[in-house]
């Protein structure tokens, strides 16, 4: 786990980050299956931020960004 640099915010338990756009909720808001998957990914993003001591998804290790981004994409292409 890396230490945060000067001026960097650290995601804490109390901080709630939203990793999906308003368009995403416009598209899928009434689909409980998609919403459940989105909640899982949202939670994983926030856990990764805390564990890596950073405040933005772009500061996460590249492999973690890739994996979580790809899961966001695959939500759209996976059927129930």
């Amino acid at each position: 786990m890396s230490e945060p640099g000067n001026g960097e915010q650290v995601a804490s338990e109390a901080t709630v980050y939203e990793h999906f756009s308003s368009v995403f909720y416009d598209i899928w808001g009434d689909d409980p299956d998609v919403m459940r998957q989105a909640q899982d990914i949202n939670d994983e993003y926030n856990r990764a931020l805390r564990e890596n001591g950073v405040s933005s998804p772009y500061q996460l290790p590249v492999a973690v960004q890739q994996e979580l981004n790809q899961r966001k994409v695959m939500i759209n292409f996976t059927e129930d």
Partner: protein, 234 residues
């Protein structure tokens, strides 16, 4: 290329799009139920022919532009399209939801951005509407300053190029170095031509890294153009 090599290349393209990390022989050996040695020999042949390459940082392989082109041509030739899934249904519903034509086009672009996590774009008359820049520059492929500059150059020249070249195919795919501008950007441009009240040659599409789920993204972009034309062009 043998049938087995084509299937291995297809698996490398699709696995790489899904997991975003180079694909190794052990995974492919499991997928094809053959030995790793067999897969390594087939991968060596694909690499010699220029369809895949080995990044410096990994033992696995990733597709080259030529490999992606083979894959995309194969998709087009076989007409192999995914069954209509929820992404297509959502896109069609939003593209057909009515309202002012400009609003409808923007809404459809925003939906493509959300569904594909690429940059989305559409021509609205002489203007080019773009959305999702953070998706594009958030991709690990575009983290090097040189590549950011190349992508920016491509974006700067996209609107004049679209008007000048006016691609005539219903769906056009430009992979990596095939892009007439920003050839070194490592980007793929997928655009659909449609008729709108603004122009008979209107375009909607996405721009992202060459690492794409081509089958799904090409299908969505094609559907977007078709639905917009049905909705807007009377």
């Amino acid at each position: 290329m043998t049938d087995r090599q084509a299937k291995i290349l297809q698996a490398i393209v699709e696995q790489y799009a899904e997991v975003a990390s180079p694909v190794g022989s052990s995974l492919l050996a499991k997928l094809f139920d053959v030995s790793s040695a067999t897969i390594r020999s087939e991968m060596a042949a694909l690499e010699r022919a220029g369809y895949i390459q080995q990044p410096h940082t990994s033992a696995g392989r990733i597709p080259t532009d030529q490999g992606y082109r083979f894959y995309v041509n194969n998709l087009s030739q076989t007409g192999d399209q995914p069954a209509e899934g929820r992404a297509e249904r959502a896109l069609q519903a939003r593209a057909a939801s009515g309202g002012h034509p400009e609003r409808t086009i923007r809404n459809t672009v925003d939906t493509l951005v959300e569904l594909t996590h690429n940059l989305g774009l559409a021509t609205i008359g002489p203007q080019l509407y773009m959305s999702g820049l953070s998706n594009l520059f958030g991709q690990p492929e575009f983290m090097h300053p040189g590549q950011v500059q190349e992508v920016a150059r491509l974006l700067d020249n996209l609107e004049p190029w679209l008007h000048e070249a006016a691609p005539n195919e219903p769906l056009s795919v430009y992979i990596g170095r095939e892009n007439p501008i920003g050839r070194s950007a490592g980007a793929s441009l997928i655009i659909s031509r449609f008729r709108s009240p603004f122009s008979d040659r209107s375009y909607i599409g996405v721009l992202g890294p060459t690492r794409q789920s081509y089958r799904e993204v090409m299908n969505l972009v094609g559907r977007a153009g078709k639905t917009l034309e049905e909705t807007l062009y009377v």
